[in-house]
């Protein structure tokens, strides 16, 4: 049976848009991007940064909107929370969506607060049927409200619940299939979790539904030896580049972008990392066609 949202899902028939190589737009790079007009295929904004009344954020958003395709990525949907959905937030988000006309809208498969207390952190929950049922119902309500499908992102986590009775990729697969939503697969987060929870990241990549993966995030992290923290404050590591190559070999072309949220380097360093992603992409492409 087809979803009521199918008409808004150009990729539900297996044809997925590939927008190339993008960058997470951060205020630190506003002026450099406008001045240098670098080779960027698209930008991803943090939606909450633009849910303001006026001033610089909205001024710059206008500038970028004219120059680049934009995807909207949020941190405030609180999808997995047991609090009621925040309709004020969704209403503001919907207005922003209508203004930006983004490539797509995403948020995280997690909760950020409960009992009206927001931690502004991306918090995990047990991988089990109870959580799936709850999240699926919430995503369906959100998609109905926004009148479009959303992408949900896998998160980094630092512990596992005893109440989990399935793998993270089985959990995400069930949610995407039942809620009829899509996946923003963060390659760095898979790597981080594979180290923090001792699993083979390739099992993860091969375990999620290929047709649901629409976007990749890629970023740096802080390696503390026995555990890794997803800090987005360092260059992408060789292990994560390798995992990106393996993801490409498995999924084919997926729109990818770099997230950098702290310890900001010069723009050229991020552009150089994007070039590395392009090289990997071309290597995989030529390998597959030869």
């Amino acid at each position: 049976m087809s979803s009521p949202l199918d008409k808004q899902l150009p990729y539900s028939n297996g044809h997925k848009p590939f927008h190339g190589f993008g960058l997470g737009l951060r205020p630190e790079y506003y002026q450099d991007i406008l001045d240098q007009e670098p080779k960027l295929d698209w930008l991803e904004i943090i939606s909450e940064n633009y849910l303001v009344d006026g001033g610089k954020p909205l001024y710059f958003l206008d500038q970028f909107k004219e120059r680049y395709p934009i995807a909207m990525h949020g941190v405030g949907m609180n999808i997995a929370s047991t609090d009621p959905l925040n309709l004020d937030y969704l209403s503001e988000l919907k207005k922003l969506i209508s203004y930006v006309k983004p490539l797509w809208v995403s948020d995280h498969c997690c909760w950020t607060g409960v009992n009206s207390h927001n931690t502004h952190d991306l918090l995990p929950l047990p991988f089990n049927e109870q959580s799936i049922k709850h999240i699926v119902s919430r995503i369906r309500q959100i998609q109905d409200y926004l009148e479009q499908p959303i992408l949900i992102e896998n998160l980094s986590s630092y512990f596992s619940f005893k109440a989990s009775d399935m793998t993270e990729w089985e959990f995400l697969t069930a949610i995407c299939e039942e809620a009829d939503c899509y996946l923003l697969l963060d390659i760095n987060n898979i790597y981080v979790n594979s180290r923090n929870h001792s699993f083979d990241p390739l099992n993860y990549i091969q375990g999620v539904p290929k047709q649901r993966v629409i976007q990749h995030h890629i970023a740096g992290h802080s390696d503390h030896g026995d555990y890794i923290i997803d800090t987005h404050d360092a260059p992408i590591t060789p292990s994560v580049f390798t995992l990106y190559k393996q993801a490409l070999e498995h999924f084919g072309p997926i729109s990818v972008m770099i997230e950098r949220d702290d310890n900001f380097p010069q723009l050229k360093e991020l552009l150089s990392e994007l070039d590395t992603l392009r090289e990997i992409f071309n290597d995989v492409k030529s390998g597959q066609t030869s």
Binding site: V114, S116, D121, Y158, K162, D226
Partner: protein, 262 residues
């Protein structure tokens, strides 16, 4: 256990204003976590606890870039911790998380008597508010010239969204400027409080000191008093024959600065 209970327990384990409860909550919550590798569940939970505090502290750092420089780490970190405990974030966005800090600091025992601290906090928050204020279309001199002369006495004024008038009894703005340049400030109490106008002109947040007659006129105009009332107010500082000139001078100044909106 329900998901609601699990989430509530998780939250209590990373946030608790009471240090003793925090340890107990943390201990209880780790019962739900697997033992994995060399890192204990308690250490793993600490990653979330540290992240919670450090994220909210960094919001305070960003909204009050010079407050910590003024009072030093030994006072600043406990202040941040106390504020985070007293005003947990209720919104999906962090834009207004610090909105209560200027009021909070007035009641915060270690700092409430440090006037320079409370005033600097107030000034920094107003800069932040003006920065994010709703865009306004500034009123032009040309527009005012279209108003017939018989309507001038009843004319009232609307200010741009980022506009604010503040009185500081210390040399707060000079101290702020010095701290902003990483210089050692010289802190002084003023003989009489100085009025400061803070607003956003286009995309740039601005501040300027104004003389007392202008400050009172701005206050009156903000309260909705009309042009005729402003002129009457100016009689306190100016002889009657100079009042119209001064009133138009002030109006011109406000228009040049972009304080008035349509």
């Amino acid at each position: 256990m329900t998901l609601k209970q699990l989430q509530s327990d998780f939250l209590a384990s990373i946030y608790s204003p009471d240090e003793n409860n925090s340890e107990e909550n943390k201990h209880n919550f780790t019962d739900h976590l697997c033992q994995q590798g060399k890192i204990t569940p308690k250490q793993r939970l600490s990653i979330y606890q540290n992240a919670y505090l450090s994220r909210l502290c960094s919001v305070i750092d960003s909204d009050f870039p010079n407050l910590g420089k003024l009072i030093g780490d030994d006072l600043y970190h406990p202040l941040c911790q106390a504020y985070i405990n007293a005003f947990p974030s209720k919104k999906p966005s962090l834009n207004n998380f610090c909105a209560q800090l200027p009021k909070f600091i007035h009641q915060y025992a270690p700092l409430k008597k440090h006037t320079i601290t409370t005033e600097l906090c107030d000034f920094e928050w107003q800069l932040r508010k003006s920065f994010d204020a709703k865009d306004s279309i500034a009123l032009t001199i040309e527009y005012l010239q279209t108003i017939p002369s018989d309507q001038w006495p009843s004319l009232t004024f609307k200010f741009t969204h980022g506009f604010a008038l503040k009185y500081f009894s210390m040399n707060t703005v000079e101290v702020w400027k010095a701290l902003n340049n990483d210089e050692q400030p010289e802190i002084k109490k003023l003989g009489v409080p100085q009025a400061w106008v803070i607003w956003r002109q286009g995309l740039v947040t601005q501040y300027i000191s104004v003389p007392v007659d202008e400050a009172y006129s701005l206050e009156a105009a903000q309260e909705g008093q009309n042009f005729e009332s402003l002129c009457e107010l100016l009689l306190e500082w100016w002889p009657e024959e100079r009042v119209p000139e001064r009133a138009f001078q002030l109006l011109q100044h406000w228009l040049q600065l972009g304080l008035l909106s349509q």
